[in-house]
């Protein structure tokens, strides 16, 4: 059973990709919608299986570590697999209606979409450094292709810039992988961790970790390496922006977090942990500040991603040399932040796409009166905004609460200030949009009504982000599931 689920998860997306490559956009849509249904069911099946039986290591094709493809199927990984199915599925459904099928280059949307999805699953489940690299490359290249689909000259420029950043990040990561293999003779993260637990730390191995994390930080757009993100996310088609902000940047962060949680204690240092936290805080402040100053709607949302990613990096100082309780709270907070930001940001980009479609302009000051003519999409946007402002009862709030507890519990009160200030700053840019849309005295009275299905999808995602806070205890409980392969390789 599990074998089928795993195969379904990793290889069928590739099959969908090949199939859709052979057809035009409309037929590709049909194939993909069937594919989305299959993938969603398979992801749910795996999640349920792990919930029932606990996590396990899985050597693909019978090859075990250190040579084979080793998959780590634990509660966190399957949660993210399920999250991907929800968000990518929603984006795929939205894209099928939103994207104009008559432009010839749009037929490449579906193959790229499916390559992206299989790359994401490979990263969530990957247990060794090289396969993570392969997944990461698959994601980056298809993401760059998706940005380029925007079609305008600006889209091409943004995607090239994105490509450059992604390649540079991969290079740094790969160099780190090579160094690590030279030092420890294994590519499995768990293998390295086991080795380190019975040997003294060799000199210079911290360098390998630093290189990998720096490369991943560039791919995650951590301040000050964030400059490539807003143009790329801002100019892409709305469903693509949603995919990129919700899932793609999380993949590289996820690898960095896994590395840090397993290897940070032996290989990292207090200064490095604090430095990364500081950069994350700078991202929160600077990203929000720039979001407040943007004139175009999608740029606001894109800069908001830069800020929200900053919170994630507080994981590094909050799990280094702290008590078990604090470390657990920080990890739980990070997980919730990833999930709720993914849901809320996808909802926000999709809703923003609808609003732009409706008023026919990307500018914020064109939104006047939209609260009367497109209340449903505005409401989705607003609900997603509540989660980004980390106000209760959303998932964003639960994440902030846990991070607050972790900061207070470890005496690192300076992160408390960042968390509180970040919430207020995000309120500033979210309320700026509300304000523009409530204004009644605008000149335009002509609004285009997007189809119902376009409006419903972001609302569902926004409600999920909102409800995440209420059920966060249950969501987090899968992280505590027994893990069958504990220390196996």
């Amino acid at each position: 059973m599990t074998l089928w689920l795993m195969a379904g998860l990793l290889f069928t997306p590739l099959a969908w990709a090949v199939l859709t490559l052979l057809t035009d956009f409309s037929r590709g849509r049909l194939v993909s919608w069937v594919g989305i249904l299959v993938q969603a069911l398979v992801s749910l099946g795996l999640w349920l299986a792990v919930n029932r039986d606990g996590g396990f290591y899985y050597g693909l094709g019978g090859w075990d570590a250190p040579l084979g493809i080793e998959l780590r199927v634990d509660g966190l990984a399957v949660t993210f697999v399920l999250l991907t199915a929800v968000v990518a599925g929603a984006c795929g459904l939205h894209a099928g209606v939103y994207i104009d099928p008559d432009k010839p280059w749009h037929r490449y949307f579906w193959p790229l979409f499916w390559f992206l999805w299989s790359g994401l699953n490979a990263v969530w489940l990957g247990g060794d450094l090289f396969n993570l690299y392969v997944g990461l490359e698959l994601i980056s290249l298809s993401a760059v292709g998706l940005v380029a689909l925007g079609g305008q000259a600006g889209a091409l420029r943004a995607s090239l810039r994105y490509l450059l950043a992604a390649l540079l990040g991969s290079l740094a990561y790969l160099l780190g992988v090579a160094l690590m293999y030279g030092q420890f003779g294994t590519l499995s993260i768990a293998g390295v961790a086991t080795w380190l637990s019975d040997h003294p730390v060799p000199a210079g191995s911290g360098m390998a970790l630093a290189l990998m994390i720096a490369g991943l930080a560039l791919k995650t757009a951590l301040f000050p390496l964030h400059r490539w993100l807003p143009p790329a996310h801002g100019i892409a088609k709305s469903p693509v922006s949603a995919l990129l902000s919700a899932l793609v940047v999380k993949a590289s962060f996820y690898i960095a977090a896994r590395l840090w949680l397993e290897l940070g204690q032996p290989l990292g240092s207090l200064a490095a942990a604090q430095l990364i936290g500081l950069l994350g805080s700078a991202a929160v402040v600077w990203g929000s500040w720039l979001a407040c100053r943007q004139q175009r709607l999608k740029q606001v949302v894109a800069y908001s991603s830069v800020a929200q990613i900053g919170y994630l990096f507080l994981l590094f100082p909050l799990t280094f040399s702290v008590s078990e309780t604090v470390s657990l709270q920080a990890q739980q907070g990070m997980t919730l932040q990833v999930i709720s930001h993914a849901l809320a940001k996808a909802a926000m980009f999709l809703a923003a796409g609808n609003l732009i479609l409706s008023v026919g302009s990307n500018r914020i000051d064109a939104l006047g009166g939209v609260s009367r003519f497109l209340p449903f999409s505005l409401f989705s946007f607003g609900l997603a905004g509540v989660s980004l402002m980390s106000l209760p009862p959303t998932g964003g709030f639960a994440a902030k609460w846990l991070l607050l507890q972790a900061s207070l519990g470890s005496g690192q009160w300076w992160w408390v200030l960042v968390l509180l200030a970040g919430g207020l700053l995000s309120a500033a840019y979210v309320f700026r949009i509300y304000r523009a849309s409530f204004l009644e005295s605008s000149g335009t009275d002509q609004f285009f009504h997007p189809s119902r299905s376009l409006e419903v999808i972001p609302m569902i995602l926004a409600i999920l982000a909102l409800g995440m806070g209420l059920v966060s205890d249950q969501v987090l409980s899968v992280m505590a599931l027994p893990f069958a392969g504990e220390g196996a390789p």
Partner: protein, 498 residues
């Protein structure tokens, strides 16, 4: 779980579901929307009545589940929560009637009533919250639900007021969150409990506890409009009259005041708050706010702004009352939670009636309006006399009880503050009454409208008349069971005996 556990959930869900249904209804579905609104309001009134009777009998209502690891979501009904829940349920019903009349034929009614119900759901949650975490949840939800109501008109002025409102309340919310998270780290998940948690607190914790108390009051003080955190309130007056009525009489300012009551009684405990020396400074701050608000009110010529500054002053009565150590003073403060609500909503309803019927917004336009609108003006007069503290109206009961309490607590200076405040109340209300009844109409009304037999639309006429009658009744029947005064005595009895 039994039905009893679920009653608070039902009370909360009533307005929440009503809100969602209203959002889903088309803009033109006027009759259906009104029916849903009033139906939900009546149903909730019944639920609250059942709970009031149950709590009086000593029944426990409550439900809880773990929301985020380490903290619970708790809803429960105790005597104190029923005060706020009852106030909110009664006034929601009347304000809904009023709002239906007030917003007749105006745009965006579906949005308005949706958020209006959401707002009431939040106040219900605030009333029924069983710990600080749950309280905070609904406290922030209230901020978000009221924003669209404040900016409802969509004018530049409304949007500017909305901005000020959001800056004040969200910053207050952040401070409150910090305090709650800190307290949680220090002492775990604290449920509201009569008598508080820090009766015999470790002296080593006194420093942190004092600091947390200051943060809690600062966070809650924004909504309670304590000086110097009151700046948003007069600006928010651009909102439609039913919003001013419900927001300023019930929802927002009371949420802040109610939170302070919870912190002092059910988290710190009155004994511990007093032992930590926290009550005296708060009492001085409240006393100063009372006088400051009244003095500022004297100089406002816009009717709603004058009422707003009067609210700043009146809400601090509640806070001063609970700072008077001893059961009598506490009763005075708590009873004002209800009395001020009833009186102030009357005044705002009347202000809305003058604006809608005659186009009057400023006090110097009110000359002779008593003859044109005798019913409304009579209600206004009763509300104003109540505020001044004329016997036997609601305000008199408050001031009398607080005065007695101050003497019992050896805080004689409070009497002076009460007297001075009443003089100021008279100074800014009596000139209005004089203009209403004793001056001749000076010209044409700015914007007059006619409605058949009554002086104004029936939807607008009856709510203020009813609340004015209530102002009289709660004063005259103060010693009867289930009057606000008796209920406040019940709350205080339970708080002091544990």
């Amino acid at each position: 779980m039994t039905l009893n556990a679920w009653l608070p959930v039902f009370a909360l869900m009533t307005s929440l579901v009503a809100s969602l249904v209203i959002f889903a209804l088309p803009e033109r579905g006027y009759r259906l929307r009104t029916a849903v609104n009033l139906g939900a309001a009546v149903f909730k009134l019944a639920l609250v009545a059942v709970m009031v009777w149950g709590v009086f009998q000593g029944v426990e209502y409550g439900v809880s589940f773990t929301m985020v690891p380490g903290v619970d979501f708790v809803l429960k009904a105790d005597a104190l929560s029923m005060m706020f829940a009852g106030l909110s349920a009664v006034l929601w019903f009347l304000t809904t009637i009023y709002a239906v009349g007030y917003l007749e034929d105006s745009p965006n009614r579906s949005r308005f009533f949706g958020f209006f119900s959401l707002c009431v759901a939040s106040t219900m949650g605030i009333a029924l919250a069983g710990n600080l975490f749950t309280f905070f949840l609904f406290y922030e939800m209230l901020t978000l639900a009221t924003y669209p109501l404040v900016v409802h008109r969509g004018t530049e002025r409304a949007l500017k007021a909305g901005r000020t409102y959001v800056i004040y309340t969200l910053t207050g919310g952040a401070v409150l969150l910090l305090a709650i998270a800190w307290l949680q780290g220090l002492a775990g998940d604290l449920h509201f409990q009569e008598g508080g948690h820090f009766g015999g607190a470790d002296p080593a914790m006194h420093g942190s506890l004092t600091l947390i108390f200051v943060l809690l009051i600062a966070g809650l003080g924004v909504k309670a409009a304590i000086f110097p955190l009151h700046g948003w309130l007069p600006q928010a007056m651009v909102a439609p009259a039913p919003v001013s009525a419900l927001l300023h009489a019930v929802a927002v300012v009371k949420a802040g005041a109610f939170g302070i009551v919870r912190v002092v009684y059910d988290i710190y405990g009155i004994e511990a708050s007093s032992a930590l020396g926290l009550l005296e400074p708060l009492a001085w701050l409240a006393a100063f706010t009372m006088l400051y608000g009244s003095v500022r009110a004297l100089f406002q010529m816009d009717l709603k702004r004058r009422l707003a500054f009067s609210t700043v002053s009146q809400v601090s009565y509640i806070i001063l009352g609970i700072c008077l150590f001893g059961p009598v003073g506490a009763t005075g403060g708590l009873v004002h939670l209800l009395h001020q609500g009833i009186m102030k909503i009357t005044l705002f309803f009347c202000a809305g009636n003058y604006a809608e019927t005659l186009g009057i917004h400023r006090i110097d336009e009110m000359d002779g309006a008593g003859r044109r609108m005798p019913g409304t003006s009579l209600a206004f007069t009763l509300g104003a006399f109540g505020m001044i503290g004329a016997p036997p109206l609601a305000g008199f009961i408050t001031k009398w009880t607080m005065g007695t309490g101050a003497l019992a607590a050896d805080m004689d200076w409070v009497i002076a503050v009460l007297v001075l405040s009443s003089v100021l109340n008279a100074a800014y209300f009596l000139p209005i009454l004089h203009r209403l009844w004793f001056r001749e109409q000076s010209g044409k009304w700015p914007h007059e409208r006619y409605w058949g037999r009554l002086e104004t639309s029936a939807w607008l006429f009856w709510p203020p008349v009813l609340t004015a009658v209530m102002t009289v009744l709660v004063g005259v029947l103060a010693s009867f069971p289930f009057s606000p005064l008796s209920w406040a005595e019940l709350v205080v009895l339970r708080a002091y005996s544990s």
